[in-house]
């Protein structure tokens, strides 16, 4: 461990700190900084440079000994032998608009929250016209755009501050309130935000926009499982087929994609056999049209899952949640190591 004064001949204490943090061999070395009394800006600069603790001069030597002891215990017990536990990112995607993607994303997030009581975050990544806020009846006072507008470097704490809470315990990162602001969010932001959310939450459900821009691709890059929502109609079916071949090119494992056939009972559409023949794979989940109660629930901003637990639509969503929980627990996912923000 390193104990260093701020004022030194040659490079100063901050620079020393930064250099130590930059070097792969020494970046985790505990650092205690000695600063002048009451100099708040020196203290902040020290932490920014990477110091773990500081002590203002003059100090009682005994205090230094305790600080050293504490810091060493803290750092060694913090130091993870394995990478930080990472929550699972589930992306809900519709190859065409109007297939009920947001209803399913919101219901899934709530189902995961109800089933596990763990920390679940829904991300409205339908950046231009997202309406997760409407489904959950949350006043959109803060959104993803506040994170990217504040600074170039996105920190975990900044994201925590813009999350909005739903009475169910679910948390939401909303889309920008104004469509034109969606342009402020770029692909790098998306990656950084998802990485930070994944280390904060057990499940991150992403309501993804129906487009193939680089922000969507960066979402897929970080996704553990894709829920691909289709309806029994020719338009969605054709687009879904195209998406599946694109997913192959993107290196998304076919097993990491589940197809959800929504409104499978609408009676006017294409039969299940025909759908599976066109897509050349099985439909994983069937969701019956929730009908009027689902629409009413959306309009009132009270998701059906919280009001009518016995409703068939709710039962199906809970079933999907259970299956995903099981599948993601056992899946050996190889993901890039997230930054520790």
């Amino acid at each position: 461990m390193l104990i260093c004064d701020v004022l030194l001949p040659g490079i100063d204490g901050y620079t020393l700190c930064k250099r130590v943090r930059q070097h792969p061999l020494t970046k985790t070395l505990p650092i205690l900084m000695l600063t002048a009394q009451g100099d708040i800006s020196a203290k902040i600069a020290g932490f920014e440079a990477g110091a773990n603790d500081y002590l203002a001069k003059p100090f009682e030597p005994q205090e230094l000994v305790y600080r050293v002891k504490n810091l060493l215990t803290r750092i060694t017990s913090d130091a993870p032998a394995t990478p930080l536990p990472r929550g699972k990112i589930i992306t809900v995607f519709g190859a065409k608009g109007g297939v009920g993607k947001t209803t399913i994303a919101v219901s899934l997030a709530l189902a995961l929250r109800l089933r596990t009581r763990r920390r679940v975050i829904i991300v409205d990544a339908d950046l231009t016209f997202g309406d997760v806020a409407v489904h959950l009846n949350i006043a959109p006072t803060r959104s993803i755009v506040d994170v990217v507008r504040t600074s170039d470097e996105i920190e975990r704490e900044m994201i925590n501050q813009v999350l909005l809470a739903h009475p169910s315990g679910l948390q939401a990162l909303l889309a920008p309130p104004r469509p034109e602001e969606s342009e402020l969010v770029n692909a790098d932001h998306m990656i950084r935000i998802l990485d930070l959310l994944a280390i904060s939450a057990d499940y991150v459900v992403v309501d993804c926009q129906t487009s193939y821009d680089d922000r969507t691709l960066s979402i897929f890059d970080r996704t553990d499982h894709v829920l691909l929502v289709i309806t029994p109609e020719i338009g969605p079916l054709k687009n879904t087929s195209m998406f599946l071949s694109l997913a192959g090119q993107l290196g998304i494992n076919q097993r990491a994609i589940s197809i959800v056939l929504n409104r499978s009972n609408s009676g006017v559409g294409i039969g299940i056999n025909e759908i599976e023949r066109v897509l050349r794979r099985k439909v994983n989940f069937h969701v019956m049209s929730g009908g009027q109660p689902v629409v009413t629930a959306v309009n009132r901003g009270t998701p059906l899952i919280l009001e009518q637990p016995k409703h068939p639509f709710v039962q199906q969503m809970l079933y999907i949640a259970d299956q995903l929980i099981k599948q993601l627990e056992t899946a050996q996912v190889t993901q890039p190591t997230p930054p520790t923000g």
Partner: protein, 53 residues
């Protein structure tokens, strides 16, 4: 297990010497450097050999 090694970087010799005595008394192995450059050199040399500094 060897005690953790501490490196004190301070150009104030009197203070550094006092700290060294205190920390040795608390059971740590202590070394000193008087400049940032010297500290970096020591840290890097040590880190390539052992992990706890």
């Amino acid at each position: 297990m060897k005690p953790p090694t501490l490196l004190i970087v301070d150009d104030d010799d009197t203070l550094a010497e006092m700290l060294e005595l205190m920390l040795r008394g608390a059971g740590y192995e202590v070394r000193r450097a008087t400049s940032g450059e010297e500290a970096l050199q020591q840290i890097l040399q040590d880190s390539s050999r052992r992990a706890d500094l």
